[in-house]
Symmetry: C2
Subunit: 471 residues, 2 copies
């Protein structure tokens, strides 16, 4: 059983940590981006790994829960504990230093509280790229990005957050520190604790530092938007692009017409790239080595694709500003979605070749539940779709409380039947714990539980996230 | 406490599995590539995942140890149990089918007993590349390659075995089966069990199947050997190559003159590429997208490097046959080493920028132990050196029994002091268990032990590998 933070416990923490570790107004730490859930707890912001360890030791001794808090941008409630004994909410924001950069090794070592955009900037300053990139990069912090194994738009080429990390520093649930901040490219000495901590959503320990991989900046950068007759054609276009441009394809995003309609209806304002808005289009981003010209590569791709009937229209960015404008469209869709207010949002993946059938079957299945608008978009190159279901015009999210559970079930059942994942990149948090229980392989669930109990025997680390609280 | 395989237990297994699962001559399963250690046990070769589960359940019930046996090419004794109660040696060789290929997804699903070269061939047949490549690829099997997180020559570009795998099927130590053979590129539903099993050396379960990632075949393939004045110059050359050719650099191997001397002395026979044999040279392999010509890229690199004083001589392959000849040199060095017979071999990594200092300091430290020949070569691009210490001419390995422990200690202490790894790609097996205990971070060791005890509470899975047997 866990205990709540008491006035006495607060005093213990105040006596051991500097005043800067405590906030006057903590409301922002107890809410989530869309205002859907409200958390509780006592917010503490340690300034060093040692201070984190001090807090954790105190919590372990008092059996007080800890909710690690990074940028607060998570969409599945992993950063919020709504009920039960009040926890310590442990914010990493004061640990925001880049500790060291090794240009000749393409390695950057930083505190877990550094904001993603600051890591991107530091890499750019030495002529490198830190390829992790997503809509919330201006506020998301490295610790949370790693703890949720964040995805984003460059996974196709560079992999997810997991693939960007060489080493970790972690405060364990008993307050001991794992000094695993290695810069080594190869190290086969024991089980892969790094990847176990990455994606554990703060339930096995608190990531306090990371050694991150940088990559060379591509020389020739370009982008195009191409209208495709169908998702199946988009997949064929992806294959063709892979054959012609190889690893140079950095991102391959699909956008449905609903995205443009929503943007036109509620903003943010974007410039429409096509004369006739197609049902489906893709945004292709390329980064090429010196000697290759992105506009030529994209032009050649378009011509070959047009001949093969895979595209009906296309615009190739003629400047960085135009490329930015394309990305502005793509990155504004989540905001438009928020403004409309979804009945239910889904971050799903299916095997790549199953994407067209999934889109078709999901549409049919939902039609049997009721009338909805569907905005399906996302990282087609990874088989990862943000499949979001919206109210019909004139109605709102709250009109659909009755249908919501059924919508979720229909989408998730189909994903499961098609060997997909009900959380491709957002994680389990607290929102999808029951989905994991329902759809997860029993042997997998048994291993997750065994690992949790072994590494956090008191159950104080982010209880109720990923796995339901035991006991 | 574990029990040995008894005659009665043998009969139980013979009664439940087909005759094909049992061998007449099992000596080859109880030895290792260099004949250094001899194993023991009863060899069983199940033909299916269900049969593996049957064997594991029987062993769990009888508390009999299981030593998973794949290609038998491991160099650290992970596949051999020398002492203690006789185990079941579980060979995956009969599970050697490629289960399915998904060309449009770049995915291949296979049994764990498939030989690496057969996977490479299957990928080639559909115009793809399976980039894992190492000297033993003609006999090493997928299950062992994943269980040891094998490295090889293409890690620089494509990552190690871990990076080539999307999903696993695993028989757990209690005989239940984890059906984790996903083809998904993104799946954030719970802890990363895949990467936990990969590199666990058969101590947490038995990998019976894998979903592997394929990649497009590079269009323009080429190679060069360049003589460099020093390891530091080789590193600068690597950086220059990265700037000019980017991800097109597939391999960057360093070879010391000792390698050529050994080849000349004991074979295998190779053609020497340089008029004057340099102290150090590198083998650079490139794979470029269409539109770029490898010979031109390597020529340009050589000219720029020559101007910067980073290379003194170079040969660019003018044909695939010449490229193969370069690789034949590189891949023959381990065989020459075996023929000479090392005093002590080390598979180490250090942070990339520390490589030149390591080579210098190791040489000095060993000079204080005695007179040796050193053959240092390997995957410079990954900071991974095979640092092997040999007898002086006219003497043999057995003359150095007294010095061997000291040589090991000197090399490993230095690696540890320089924040490196004493097992970069070969794993811990049984040979390096004490090194892991000695050099491993205490918090890390505690987590390894907790995970082992949680997932294999009876301690039957490959006992004594990675971690010493408890109790």
């Amino acid at each position: 059983m866990l205990n709540p933070v008491t006035a006495e416990f607060e005093e213990t923490l105040r006596a051991t940590l500097p005043a800067a570790a405590f906030k006057e107004d903590t409301t922002s730490y107890l809410s989530e981006p869309r205002g859907r859930w409200t958390g509780q707890g006592f917010v503490v912001s340690p300034g060093s790994t040692e201070e984190v360890a001090t807090v954790v030791r105190a919590c372990a001794q008092a059996r007080v829960a800890i909710v690690p808090y990074s940028g607060g941008t998570g969409l599945v409630g992993g950063q919020l504990l709504q009920e039960g004994p009040a926890p310590v909410v442990l914010s990493l924001e004061r640990m925001n230093q880049i500790r060291a950069i090794y240009p000749s090794e393409n390695v950057l070592v930083c505190d877990a509280g550094v904001i993603l955009a600051d890591v991107q900037k530091a890499a750019e300053d030495i002529g490198r790229l830190f390829p992790l990139s997503l809509a919330s990069e201006g506020s998301a912090r490295i610790g949370g990005l790693l703890s949720t194994n964040a995805g984003g738009v460059n996974v196709l080429r560079y992999g997810n957050a997991r693939a960007q990390c060489l080493g970790l520093e972690v405060v364990r649930p008993d307050g001991t520190i794992w000094h695993g901040l290695t810069r080594l490219r190869k190290d086969n000495t024991g089980y892969d604790l790094r990847n176990l901590m990455i994606g554990a959503e703060g339930t096995l320990g608190i990531i306090t530092g990371a050694a991150l991989k940088l990559v060379p900046r591509p020389v020739g950068i370009g982008a195009a938007m191409m209208a495709v007759p169908s998702p199946a054609a988009a997949l064929d276009l992806l294959a063709l692009a892979g054959e012609r441009i190889g690893e140079g394809i950095a991102a391959f995003e699909i956008v449905h017409r609903a995205g443009f309609d929503f943007l036109a209806q509620v903003g943010p304002q974007v410039r429409q790239p096509f004369d006739d808005l197609p049902d489906w289009c893709v945004l292709i981003d390329v980064g090429l080595p010196s000697g290759l010209i992105p506009e030529d590569a994209l032009e050649g791709l378009f011509e070959a694709a047009f001949e093969a009937g895979l595209v009906t229209d296309g615009v190739i960015a003629q400047s960085m500003a135009q490329r930015d404008a394309f990305w502005h469209i793509r990155e504004s869709i989540p905001e438009a979605n928020r403004r409309i207010g979804s009945v239910s949002s889904h971050d799903i993946s299916v095997p790549l070749s199953a994407v067209p059938a999934f889109i078709e079957r999901a549409k049919q299945a939902l039609a049997e539940v009721g009338d909805f608008r569907i905005n399906c978009f996302g990282h087609l190159g990874d088989g990862n779709l943000h499949y979001n279901v919206f109210p019909m015009p004139g109605r709102s999210r709250t009109d659909y409380e009755a249908e919501r559970p059924q919508v979720k079930r229909v989408v998730h059942d189909l994903v499961h039947a098609m060997e997909g994942s009900v959380s491709a990149e957002h994680g389990i948090g607290r929102l999808k714990v029951k989905d994991l229980e329902k759809y997860g392989d029993p042997a997998k669930l048994a291993m997750l539980r065994a690992i949790k109990d072994a590494l956090d025997p008191l159950g104080i680390m982010n209880p109720g996230a990923v796995l339901a609280q035991s006991g």
